[in-house]
């Protein structure tokens, strides 16, 4: 294991490399107001982050990552375009795997630039790839934007699309919703009974709590509308399932996706973006013919990414977490920007893990 001093030295070296690439070095506080993070991620972040509090500022979290504070800082005072780099500790509660670190050093590079998203994606990926060069790692890539475009383009009701979009990052619930909207899973008997009833509130008991009768009536209306809507068609459904299963080297993945776009034309623009990104990656010297692409990659772990996603994994050490991860998070800037937004992409890596894998080669 690399010592803390070695890890910090490597972190400083990596950050200097990102500075040389044009990034402004920045610092963020370790204590972050819990409210923003809880609002974004709900209980999942509470299970992952250390929460503490004082009487004056209320609940605070030990920085679980840099992205949120960096975006907040940029949205308040950043010039455009902007490139940032940082290095420091992040903290993660570990309750299931004692072997995973609860405190480690992260180094990151983030780009806020409206001009050419494909080039910005490629810039971040290539810089991170260069930083981990020499370590026995395999890159995985994906694009959440393609799946989102597919859902938005489905020939079904806006309510169903919104429900699917909400669960892009929870594959099991996404699957359950899809089965229901396609008419493949039976309607629960309680729901059939509710919809058949002319006076559903007849035996309901007193109205207690903050969720009021108007909300219940509204949901019953939504359920009635849903029951009346036709199921998602078999062609679209098959195409969506083929899309989710795409796992190939990038050029073959693109070809398969083009084929799928015949039945899901809404993914067309997202495929142009993928193609432009692959071109930009190739221009930066990345061997895209050997680059893995998985359409479902990033759905379980990277909830704020909504476009390009990537990770670098130790091929012979499946027990280790990824050494580097990153992706595009345009929507996050919208959520934190209070009315403003800017396309953003970034990546982080773990110098400690990197040194362990390099085994003193550096």
């Amino acid at each position: 294991m690399a010592s803390r001093a070695e890890t910090l030295a490597e972190a400083a070296r990596l950050r200097a490399g990102f500075e040389a690439a044009g990034a402004l070095p920045i610092e963020t506080p370790i204590l972050q107001p819990a409210e923003t993070l809880l609002d974004l991620y709900g209980e999942d972040i509470r299970a992952r982050a250390y929460v503490t509090s004082d009487a004056l500022r209320g609940e605070q979290m030990l920085r679980p990552d840099f992205t949120v504070p960096v975006v907040q800082m940029h949205m308040v005072q950043g010039a455009e375009p902007a490139r940032y780099t940082y290095a420091g500790e992040v903290f993660r509660r570990q309750e299931h795997d004692p072997a995973r670190a609860s405190e480690y050093i992260q180094v990151g590079y983030e780009v806020f630039d409206r001009s050419n998203p494909g080039a910005a994606d490629a810039e971040v990926f290539a810089l991170i790839a260069q930083a981990v060069d020499g370590a026995p790692l395999r890159a995985a890539t994906g694009d959440i934007g393609i799946l989102m475009a597919a859902v938005q383009g489905l020939n079904t009701t806006p309510a169903r699309k919104a429900a699917l979009m909400r669960h892009i990052w929870r594959p099991r619930r996404f699957r359950a919703l899809l089965d229901r909207f396609a008419g493949r899973s039976p309607v629960p008997p309680t729901r059939s009974a509710l919809l058949a009833s002319t006076e559903p509130m007849a035996d309901a008991g007193p109205a207690i709590g903050r969720r009021g009768p108007a909300e219940i009536a509204a949901r019953i209306e939504t359920l009635r509308a849903d029951a009346a809507a036709p199921p998602i068609g078999a062609t679209e459904l098959n195409a969506l399932e083929s899309l989710l299963a795409v796992r190939e080297t990038a050029p073959f993945a693109l070809a398969q996706l083009r084929d799928i776009a015949v039945d899901l034309p809404a993914i067309g623009p997202a495929l142009y973006r993928l193609e432009a990104r692959l071109g930009a990656l190739a221009a930066r010297g990345v061997d895209v013919d050997d680059l893995d692409f998985e359409a479902s990659y990033g759905r379980t772990s990277m909830e704020y990414y909504d476009g390009f996603v990537f990770g670098f994994y130790a091929e012979r050490r499946p027990d280790l977490p990824p050494v580097a991860t990153g992706g595009r998070y345009d929507a996050l800037t919208r959520q934190l920007g209070k009315g403003t937004e800017i396309p953003a992409v970034g990546g982080v890596l773990r110098p400690g893990l990197l040194l362990d894998l390099l085994g003193g080669a550096r």
Partner: protein, 229 residues
């Protein structure tokens, strides 16, 4: 040293535990006055009785300060991460049955399943500007259950007692709590989600995997477990 057996120090849980051991020929007695938490064991050698609150038993087992302990499955699963590595289940005792369940107001006629709950939570958050609050003291179990089910847009608020009242008081929209007969739920106009069973719990005898065991204690443990067969 003697083998330490931790048993809840009061109430029906203590009495029923005493009764259960009694049926296996081991007599546990609480000595002195009602206020004194000391006890003795007869019918078997080398075992000491430690009386403590049922809520403390998991922690004492995990730290190895007691070798054996009686407490509910719910408390062990909630309080001990990776509980299988820290304790071993020796015997369910057949009493103290309780289910950890999710319950919502009975007048939510549109919510019967987790699928309904998730959709209602999304609409609730959009309308009220905060997540749907679930009052509970079982944070780990409930979060794990809801994450597994893919339910989003809720938040857990801590409630260490009178949890069923939180909905009427508007400090929570729904609850996750232990129930045995469901009567308190009904009295508070709440109903259980049809797929909202988080955990079935009962009083259980556990063995600590972390406690250091001397040869003498090992012999006492064997004698005790043989007796329980």
């Amino acid at each position: 040293m003697t083998l330490k057996l931790g048993v809840p120090s009061k109430g029906r849980l203590m009495e029923k535990t005493f009764g259960w051991f009694d049926r296996h020929g081991i007599t546990l007695t609480r000595s002195g006055s009602d206020r004194e938490y000391a006890g003795s064991v007869s019918g078997i050698d080398g075992v000491d009785l430690v009386l403590l609150s049922a809520g403390e038993v998991p922690r004492e087992l995990a730290s190895g300060r007691i070798h054996l302990g009686v407490t509910g499955t719910d408390l062990v699963h909630e309080k001990l991460p990776l509980w299988e590595q820290q304790v071993e289940e020796i015997a369910p005792l057949g009493f103290g049955h309780a289910d950890l369940i999710l319950a919502v107001p009975r007048f939510w006629v549109d919510v019967d399943t987790l699928d309904d709950l998730d959709a209602a939570a999304a609409a609730f958050r959009a309308r009220h500007g905060h997540r749907m609050r679930i009052a509970t003291k079982y944070h780990r179990l409930v979060h794990g259950f809801l994450r597994e089910a893919g339910v989003a847009d809720y938040q857990l608020v801590d409630s260490q007692g009178a949890t069923e009242g939180t909905v009427a008081n508007e400090t929570a929209e729904m609850i996750a709590d232990i129930t045995s007969t469901g009567e308190t739920l009904r009295a508070n106009h709440l109903k259980i989600l049809s797929d909202g069973l988080v955990l079935r719990s009962q009083a259980t005898l556990w063995r600590s995997r972390t406690a250091v065991v001397s040869d003498q204690e090992k012999a006492a443990l064997k004698a005790l477990t043989d007796r329980l067969q």
